[in-house]
């Protein structure tokens, strides 16, 4: 069974440029998460989807970040414009259900460097 797929794996951009990350969760997983992981820190939740609905986006910086999961399957996270402080690894995860007892499966992440 394929795991969570993310692309690209690495991205280097100049500040003020836009960038987008794509995630395809494990088949059948209704819940999808985007996390940001700064160097030397644990992941921090940005947004959680139940099917196509964003049910927790309280930590998403909405002035520059946006996300979508139009058909309730794959998802895109966008930053426009990127700032130096956005350099981090962006992780996507999925789980069968929403409850905290459901194991989250993580993708390999996209390492973003903003110059």
């Amino acid at each position: 069974e394929a795991g969570v797929v993310q692309s690209p794996r690495y991205k280097i951009i100049e500040k003020k440029q836009p960038v987008a990350f794509w995630c395809n969760p494990i088949s059948g997983h209704n819940t999808l998460y985007w996390y940001r992981q700064n160097l030397g820190q644990g992941p921090e939740l940005l947004i959680r989807y139940e099917n196509e609905e964003a049910v927790d986006d309280s930590q998403l910086p909405k002035d520059r970040f946006s996300a979508e999961r139009l058909k309730g399957v794959d998802s895109t996270l966008k930053i426009q414009p990127a700032e130096l402080g956005d350099s981090a690894v962006y992780l996507c995860a999925s789980s069968l259900g929403a409850g905290s007892y459901n194991e989250q499966f993580f993708g390999p992440g996209t390492r973003l460097t903003v110059l």
């Binding site: 030397g40 820190q41 644990g42 992941p43 921090e44 939740l45 959680r48 927790d56 992780l91 995860a93 929403a98 409850g99 905290s100 007892y101 194991e103 989250q104 499966f105 993580f106 993708g107 390999p108 992440g109």
Partner: protein
Amino acid sequence: SQQGEEDPQALSIQEGENATMNCSYKTSINNLQWYRQNSGRGLVHLILIRSNEREKHSGRLRVTLDTSKKSSSLLITASRAADTASYFCATAEAQKLVFGQGTRLTINP
């Protein structure tokens, strides 16, 4: 914001020795989970302990939870080179996981 705080931040031991990592948190939780992250396999779920459990085992892993002290520990017995990774505790509050800063474990041959 991160709730869990792992201690130590870094740990280096010899292969075959046991490794113990601790996690402290601040608020009430439904469960606490431990994850491992290395460059090869990304972030992987290791074990979940419910708030009404005190100890749980999985292979060479032993997790304890003390809700009165708001702390947990992860013990890895008979360590192997492949255990070299960062280990994170994550506290589950409602439907949300909050990760700590992690302990970087290095197993020396």
